[in-house]
């Protein structure tokens, strides 16, 4: 029984050379209730089909951005997607209620370790700070923000580590669609920076 219908907006410009996302996207495949939308494969010429994307969003109640972090943000096509699809009067504004109460979640990977994302690290800020633009975008679209799924240290990760992470990713998606993990349980709470991957590892979900 599918409780939550999940739309994975997947963006990776060079998947053929990716170690992390090739595995992750394979892990997310063939789960009842999960739709994968491979943006770079669909729109190599950056011509996002807005109407198609809108109706996809309407058919799902959980929106996941799965992508590597480039320059503290999403790959450019996913940004183009936001610019075009999240229209005024549809996604936001007084009549823009199409996405109201749907859940938003970021499933991202970062090359550096978590220790680089702190005031004393090279990146100065935590990943949660960098996710704020996305968080606010979702909020303006009347969506509910979920805790992110973050995989740190993608560079130099061993195969075993990657397999382990992907196992948790698949497990998470399966249980989310089946309703064993509720949206309430992973809803982002102010002041509490939680990583779903960590919670899965600890068996908290």
């Amino acid at each position: 029984m599918v409780e939550n219908k999940v739309l994975v907006q997947f963006a990776h410009p060079a998947l053929e050379h990716s170690k992390v996302h090739r595995r992750m996207i394979r892990a997310a495949s063939n789960i009842p209730g999960v739709t994968i939308n491979d943006l770079y494969e669909l729109y190599p010429e950056f011509l996002v089909d807005v109407e198609r994307e809108k109706s996809l969003l309407e058919e799902h109640n959980v929106l996941i951005f799965q992508c590597p972090v480039f320059w503290y943000s999403t790959p450019s096509l996913l940004k183009e997607w936001q610019d075009l699809v999240l229209e005024y009067g549809w996604a936001y504004g007084s009549t823009g209620l199409a996405l109201k109460d749907k859940a938003f979640l970021a499933a991202i990977s970062a090359g550096g370790g978590e220790e680089a994302y702190c005031p004393t690290g090279r990146n100065c800020y935590s990943m949660y700070e960098f996710l704020k633009p996305l968080e606010q975008t979702a909020r303006l679209c009347n969506m509910r923000n979920m805790d992110p799924f973050i995989y740190f240290g993608a560079v130099g990760a061993s195969d075993a580590e990657l397999e382990f992470m992907c196992h948790h990713y698949r497990d998470f998606l399966e249980r989310l669609t089946q309703g064993y993990i509720t949206l309430d349980a992973i809803e982002r709470q102010s002041g509490k920076d939680r990583n779903i991957l960590d919670m899965m590892k600890k068996g908290e979900l």
């Binding site: 410009p13 060079a14 998947l15 053929e16 050379h17 170690k19 992390v20 494969e41 480039f70 993608a154």
Partner: protein, 634 residues
């Protein structure tokens, strides 16, 4: 092999090789080139060939037979069926009326009825060879005028044998029957003087024609398949030629015109899957034989006779052409031809034809017409045939531009270019129409011109205002608004035409920006040198799209394939300017081009290697400092 044969072959081939390119350079039809070549090598100028010209002409007439076979291949039976009214009606009336008019004229000049009628019937026939060849060459065959003309010629081909059969009846009473018999086979008909009863002849004709249809429809396919499966191409060519010659022989046997028979065989085979193969096999032979035929016509023009009787011949020529033209014009009007199409038929079919040579020689043997008179008429036919290509030039350069298109049956007025867009598109075929659609989707109404009646009709039906016109003439460009336009887009599928329009535009409107499409690299370089602001190779976009999908089919990600495609396009376009400088010096060009091709491939492969080496999730400023060779994943 006999040296004199080789000598003759050499003279004829060289005459063709020299004269036809010159004619085509001058924008004239090849027919005129051949005719002039014939005159030059003939007995009255250089004298390379003498009296044998006439024999050669008879042999080369087989080119006409082949031409009709090829025309038949192009015509589906249903199309032919639709032409029946115009063949029988228009064709029948043309032959009947022209014969009557000419006969009457001859009698006015004091001839007896019988010879006058013979001359009338013979001169009523026009030249299939010259007319069809010219129509095909100019692309007018499919126009309504071209079709009407062809219908008439088809009827004349049918009428040839009955006329042949009638000539003995027109001979003086005291005629040696053996003379008739002796003359007949030489003229190519067995039916003449044939003692067989009428029902037998009819039966024979029906059986043979039915046989051609049945065999062509149901048997030839297996024969061709068997031959094709041997994979030896010359055997197929031999079979194609044997087929044409065989049908011609059969026709002689039953007393019908060989040209008509092979035409029928062509129509029967028009639906066959071997049609294109047959076409391409017979085509070169037809071309050479027809060329030979035209040269022979040129060579047989008897200038001695013409110089001795200039006035008489001029009178015959003028009378013949005017008389036939008047008849054609009246009939054309009755059968609904208008404007330029009417004039195409009027001027195009006003000459005497190659059948005239055959029939006159037969009539001479039968003493229907006296030898002296006969010579004058034969010379006059040759002159009218030689004049015909000039009439086609007159039609093309004077009448066609004035009357606009009028290719359709509707009472369309000559196209006045009424709207003037800031863009002019010339050539609205499969390439140009997309550009037009893009412009229109942005609210820009281009002025569109084309010289193909069918394109124009097609796009007009779809609501596009396409104008007929030859844009190589700067007057037409002016009318289309070239003086005020911002851009001229030239996309005809003919490089020569594109080049000429570009030249006209650059000469008369130097400020006008000109974009041109080109088929390949040589054309591109020529257009670049001709001053085009931008040249677009026609295949470029499509071949890249195909490359993208091919890569995709092999599992390459689309975004990756796209970027390679557009990088390749940019890379290749960059090379065009450099290539232009080197194009003339082939070794350097090829060396450099090879380098460029290798450079691109190496660059792409290096990119891949880099991307594999650096992990793409590795975007991280820290890592970048240490691994500068890792490119950002973009």
């Amino acid at each position: 092999m006999d040296d004199s044969f080789l000598y003759m072959a050499f003279v004829f081939l060289m005459a063709a090789v020299i004269s036809v390119p010159i004619a085509s350079r001058l924008g004239l039809s090849s027919v005129l080139g051949y005719l002039v070549a014939g005159v030059i090598i003939g007995p009255f100028v250089l004298g390379f060939i003498g009296e044998e010209g006439e024999d050669i002409m008879h042999a080369a007439e087989f080119g006409v037979v082949m031409m009709l076979f090829l025309i038949g291949l192009e015509l589906q039976p249903s199309v032919l069926w639709k032409m029946r009214t115009s063949v029988l009606g228009l064709g029948g009336l043309q032959v009947g009326l022209s014969a009557a008019v000419i006969c009457a004229a001859c009698m006015v000049f004091g001839m007896a009825f019988k010879p006058a009628l013979a001359i009338g019937l013979i001169l009523a026939l026009s030249s299939t060879a010259i007319v069809v060849q010219s129509l095909n060459e100019k692309g007018w065959f499919k126009t309504s005028g071209g079709q009407a003309g062809f219908s008439i010629l088809l009827f004349q081909d049918i009428a040839f044998i009955p006329i042949l059969a009638m000539l003995p009846l027109l001979a003086p009473e005291v005629l040696d029957p053996e003379l008739v018999m002796a003359a007949a086979p030489a003229a190519g008909g067995e039916a003449v003087g044939d003692p067989q009863p009428a029902w037998f002849v009819t039966l024979k004709v029906l059986v043979v024609l039915g046989g051609i249809v049945v065999v062509g429809r149901y048997v030839m396919r297996y024969v061709f398949r068997a031959i094709a499966s041997t994979g030896i191409s010359e055997v197929f060519t031999a079979a194609a030629l044997a087929l044409v010659i065989g049908v011609a022989l059969l026709m002689n046997f039953i007393g019908l015109s060989p040209a008509l028979g092979t035409f029928l065989a062509g129509v029967v085979l028009a639906d066959s899957e071997y049609r294109h193969e047959l076409e391409s096999d017979v085509e070169p032979f037809k071309g050479l034989l027809l060329g030979l035929f035209f040269i022979a016509v040129g060579a047989t023009v008897d200038f001695n006779l013409i110089f001795e009787n200039p006035l008489t011949i001029a009178l015959i020529v003028l009378g013949l052409m005017v008389g036939k033209a008047v008849v054609l014009n009246i009939l054309g009007r009755i059968f609904g031809l208008k404007g330029a199409q009417l004039w195409l038929v009027t001027l195009g079919l006003s000459q005497g034809g190659e059948f005239g040579f055959v029939l006159f020689s037969y009539a001479g043997q039968l003493e229907v017409v006296s030898r002296d008179t006969l010579g004058l008429f034969v010379a006059a036919i040759a002159v009218t045939m030689a004049l015909t290509p000039l009439l086609f030039v007159l039609y093309e350069k004077v009448i066609l531009p004035r009357s606009g298109s009028n290719q359709s049956e509707s009472d369309r007025e000559p196209d006045e270019v009424e709207e003037q867009g800031s863009v002019i598109i010339v050539g609205f075929g499969r390439f140009g129409h997309l550009i037009g659609r893009m412009l229109r989707s942005k609210g820009i109404r281009p002025t569109i011109m084309d010289n193909d009646a069918e394109h124009i009709e097609f796009w007009r039906n779809l609501g596009f205002k396409v104008y007929f016109g030859d844009a190589t003439r700067h007057e037409l460009l002016t009318k289309a608004g070239a003086a005020e336009a911002k851009l001229l887009v030239i996309t005809t599928n003919q490089h020569e035409t594109n080049m000429r329009i570009l030249e006209a535009a650059k000469k008369h409107f130097p400020k006008l920006k000109v974009f041109v499409s080109a088929a390949g690299r040589p054309e591109t370089y020529a257009l670049m040198e001709g001053g085009a602001d931008r040249v677009f190779r026609e295949y470029l976009g499509t071949s890249l799209l195909m490359g993208i999908e091919s890569l995709q089919a092999l599992g390459v990600r689309r975004f990756n394939a796209h970027r390679t495609a557009w990088r390749l396009m940019r890379y290749d376009e960059e090379h065009m300017q450099e290539g232009l400088q080197m194009w003339k010096d082939r070794p350097t060009y090829f060396k450099r081009a090879k380098e460029r091709i290798e450079q691109f491939e190496e660059g792409e492969l290096r990119q891949v290697a880099k991307e594999v080496a650096g992990d793409n999730e590795a975007w991280d400023p820290g890592k970048f400092v240490e691994r500068t060779d890792v490119e950002l994943d973009k």
